[in-house]
Symmetry: C3
Subunit: 208 residues, 3 copies
């Protein structure tokens, strides 16, 4: 479990930096930056826990998430001028984050006796909705809704996890192989700018 | 109860289409479209269940809501070019949706021993907040806040339901008469473009 | 407790007016205005209660919050033309609101056995997130994220409360002294337009 907890910390840290960067770009003040960083880092897990009634929710049960967010904000503030050349590092951390969050969410769903398909949904909620909240609060169109491979990668890794669950393999290995699937798919997709075509609609007025 | 469950399915289906259409118009990718469709279809009931602590929340307790959403998205995708001439059908489905959701939410509130007035509020939350979440996530001003008759119709139908509860009438009839009130008020309002006048304020700077 | 409940009512009333004003300026219809007023007045406590699993949440457990919101909306409607000269009064009420909400949230967190630091966070959530929801639903950049002193004042008052908890002083006095700290800091900050400098970042493309 230590490896997984470490990866969880890395993911939280990466998401906090991602949130802090967006908030600083939008000229939010110090509190605004902290709130956006925190919501980005913990929002997915928070929504998941509220939906499946898993109390105490993650960051209330383990105060470390708050400290890691604050460290992430401090690091972002101190090294903000060096962030641009670090984009590959950031992408690395962020991709570790979604890989781990997807599987942790999926595992938590299974631990709460959800149907595997619903557990898979919870994995994706964990990985995706922190970023969605960040974008709603900073008034951007949620990125995730335009970058298919992001969620597709989470889905593929989650399915891998569920399939591997039928074999008796070491727990850490099980986790890490599935995480690697997410990590690799997303990395390839970004490197080669893979994206599925979007549906075109322009005949419509306001539906509903 | 079968009639009501059928109507619930019809409403969920209609709301999923409504969400998918907005997301497609905004050029969201496939996952974005599915998420918006799902949030539109189940968001109202989801918020209601979280607020009144009714776990498992609707779509976790009954996985059919996910399937219906996916079918709704597929149908929207396949028939998107024929949607424009189908606007009356869509309006029909959508209006069935809000009629049913209002009363199901109200009934659930009563089943959880809420004060009838709070149960009425929960009915309106169920009918309205799926659309509100859709609009927030797609960066539109929530439509509901500008189209009075939408919520007014829900309110009228909910009050009808509470009044009829004092008489001994068949449960399905009770439900359907109240739903009809919502359906008819909204249909008339849209047909004749009824809208209450809005308050004009322009003296103010930023309040708060 | 009577003094504190009275202050809670005053704060709720002030927040309801603040929400109603924003919604009226945005040309929302009557229902939209009521919903925004209600979300502004009760949103912070609602999010807090959902996160710490404190059911029934505030406004479900005490229907007065709904009545106060409706009265607040009615007052705003009736006196809207006189609101401009009343801005100092509004500021007064609003500042009472955040002072009281911060401490009520903090106390509730402690009552639910949260770590004092988490209870402090819950105090700030109570004071701040009603306004955040208002701004998200009306498509404004959340004000709180740009006006540092707002949240800083809540933080200072919350810390004062936690420090005073180590001394044996009268419960009401304890509450009111801490509330006064928030009230005074915010009043001074607004009077002298105090604001912390913001971080400048412009080298970045889209993070994440």
């Amino acid at each position: 479990m230590d490896i997984i907890y470490t990866l969880d910390i890395v993911g939280t840290f990466a998401f906090a930096i991602s949130g802090a960067l967006v908030a600083m770009k939008k000229q939010f003040d110090a509190f605004g930056v902290v709130i956006i960083a925190f919501v980005t880092a913990t929002g997915g897990g928070m929504i998941r826990d509220v939906l499946i009634n898993a109390h105490p929710i993650t960051w209330i049960g383990d105060i470390n998430y708050i400290w890691i967010t604050l460290i992430g904000v401090a690091v972002t503030f101190l090294f903000r001028s060096k962030i641009a050349p670090l984009r590959k590092t950031m992408f690395l951390f962020d991709t570790i984050g979604i890989s781990v969050f997807t599987l942790l969410g999926l595992e938590k769903g299974l631990a709460y006796d959800l149907h595997p398909f619903l557990a898979l949904v919870m994995g994706m909620v964990s990985a995706v909705f922190g970023g969605v909240l960040r974008d709603v609060l900073t008034r951007k169109v949620p990125l995730i809704f335009k970058k298919e491979i992001y969620a597709s990668a989470c889905l593929a890794g989650g399915v891998t996890y569920l399939i591997l669950a039928n074999f008796k393999i070491n727990e850490n290995l099980h986790f890490i192989v599935s995480a690697a699937v997410i990590f690799i798919i997303r990395s390839i997709a970004v490197k080669y700018k893979l994206e599925l075509p979007k549906v075109k609609i322009d005949v419509l007025g306001e539906p509903n």
